[in-house]
Symmetry: C2
Subunit: 337 residues, 2 copies
């Protein structure tokens, strides 16, 4: 209830003085280890009450400086604005807190420079562990962490130097492709080579998905066409432009389409809407990603939902086990339509 703006924040010394005791007693009480110090519950109560009254807030910087463990866990993530990363971040925070860790998260917008700068900043904040999600150069981050004696893990995109938890992109893409091809047959009367759109050819997941896409074509005896692979990046505009360019070259955009993320799907659908109706175009879509509204788009778009709770459970399992040798854990994604 004290609304006076104080130049100096209340410290344990202030509290000690008010309680007529010492700073160490205050510290012990406020940290909950006063039974260990056998402080009288009377004093404990008094201190707690005074702390409350004064609106005391621990100075974490000082506390951390003194303590050996920071209990801070960091995560870097490429984007917030889609369901996949949004749910990763939200669940990560939750699970971290449930384990008594303080999560700090930062978004790097798929910018390699920002990624390493973010990692360095996290190290400055004394993270005990850093989870690099969808990093472009995870090994660089692992090296930086290792040099500081900090554990790191990769999520979503694997690295060679630290444990990685990812989706089984090959198997997922293979099954997704199979489903799209079957839908083509059902709806268009024939299985035709699919378009692959979105993502970066250089990133591991996209490469694996293209591999699965090829395999499924082979499985079903459908030839693949190399110039139907448009790994144009993730942004909606890029997918939109890629389709436009394709159409301008005189290639009819029709048949089946494997879209590499909902981000790209946004651009794809925008292009479709701009240039004619989805139904009219006889398009059969599948997307290696999930968004609730896409389900509601209709047209039976096949989707793959990555197993975020499963992946994070694995991440924390590895963290808790203390394991730090490189290994890639692949989790099967979930199919939705």
């Amino acid at each position: 209830m004290n609304h006076v703006k104080q130049a100096k924040r209340t410290t344990i010394y202030d509290l000690a003085e008010l309680a007529g005791t010492s700073a160490s007693a205050v510290s012990a009480v406020l940290n909950g280890n006063w039974k260990k110090r056998r402080i009288s519950s009377q004093l404990a109560e008094k201190i707690t009450k005074i702390a409350e009254e004064q609106g005391y807030a621990l100075n974490m910087q000082a506390s951390l400086l003194r303590r050996e463990k920071s209990h801070i866990i960091g995560m870097i993530v490429p984007k917030y604005d889609n369901r996949y990363f949004g749910s990763i971040v939200e669940l990560f925070e939750d699970m971290a807190r449930a384990r008594g860790l303080f999560p700090i998260i930062t978004c790097t917008r798929r910018d390699p420079e920002l990624e390493i700068e973010a990692a360095r900043t996290m190290l400055s904040y004394q993270v005990e562990c850093l989870v690099a999600t969808g990093a472009t150069d995870p090994d660089k981050i692992t090296e930086m962490c290792a040099a500081a004696g900090v554990r790191s893990l990769n999520l979503d995109l694997p690295g060679a130097l630290a444990p990685s938890v990812i989706s089984d992109n090959f198997a997922g893409a293979r099954e997704l492709t199979r489903r799209i091809l079957m839908n083509c047959e059902k709806r268009l009367g024939k299985k035709e080579p699919l378009l692959f759109i979105g993502g970066r050819g250089s990133d591991h997941n996209t490469a694996e998905r293209i591999r699965g896409w090829r395999q499924a074509h082979a499985d079903l005896g459908v030839p693949v066409e190399e110039d139907l692979i448009l790994a144009c990046g993730y942004a909606p505009e890029k997918a939109e432009k890629a389709l436009e360019a394709m159409a301008l070259k005189g290639n009819a955009v029709s048949g089946g389409m494997f879209v590499n993320s909902t981000i790209s799907l946004e651009g794809v659908i925008r292009w479709i809407r701009r240039s004619g109706d989805l139904d009219d175009r006889n398009l059969v879509l599948g997307c290696f990603d999930w968004d609730p509204f896409v389900t509601l788009l209709g047209n039976g778009i096949e989707m793959v939902r990555q197993d975020v709770p499963g992946m994070l459970a694995k991440v924390f399992e590895i963290i808790e086990s203390g394991e730090s040798k490189p290994q890639v854990v692949k989790l099967p994604p979930i199919f939705i339509n």
Copy 2:
């Protein structure tokens, strides 16, 4: 390139020893104020090189403890997993960094207890300013901050004790309602009272939107029906259940509908899909929120997109001005269909 796992992290004392100089010199050089201290560029260079070699990372906790300003800015946010809050968070991080601030963000899942706990934690981390986004009890947070001599601002949901930046919910809802009613007339041949679904009656934004919804009905001479107001909460399941309950009571769900957020819209559309086709039901929808995929849902759903860049620009403007007396800044939202 030193991959040896070190028990102790490299400190400026280690660097000083290696460079044959003192910690204070190292500190000055690494902070870039060595011209002020007139340190020889030779020494500066040497120190920089050694720091690089050793993979030195500043201990921010120690640095912050000593410094007077933390340059940390905090934000609490209810959810990550929708476009609105996702874009707020992403842009906030960006703008904070551009101003030399370190953003720390935490998600409180609309849990009032978590909110104040999160605020306390942020204070422990010595934030210089805290932005409370969509907080259930913003004034409580402002009080806590004030007691610690920390500035706070409210975003999305206003408070009485600190500057607040919000959308103009009344005007937005009024115009959105008007548009839905006009669409009803166009598509269904008549203007009928709209259903209002989603949100909490107790939250300011929902109350303002209901007020706008009423006003628009009055403007167009359409009577409102009180039991068409279903402020059932935000979660998709809640909207879905509310519609189900309404249908079970024998009330036909048809005509126009004002949906209070995309989160709720998810449940609404799910219910529609489960219980018949959107087109068949003659539903005319509007949503006080925006999601790119909703545009692509078709059916001409009217949407309101809140002006996130505008709101954050205003937030930082207020922060930079040092202003801290209560005021509510309302930004007009943008209409999309």
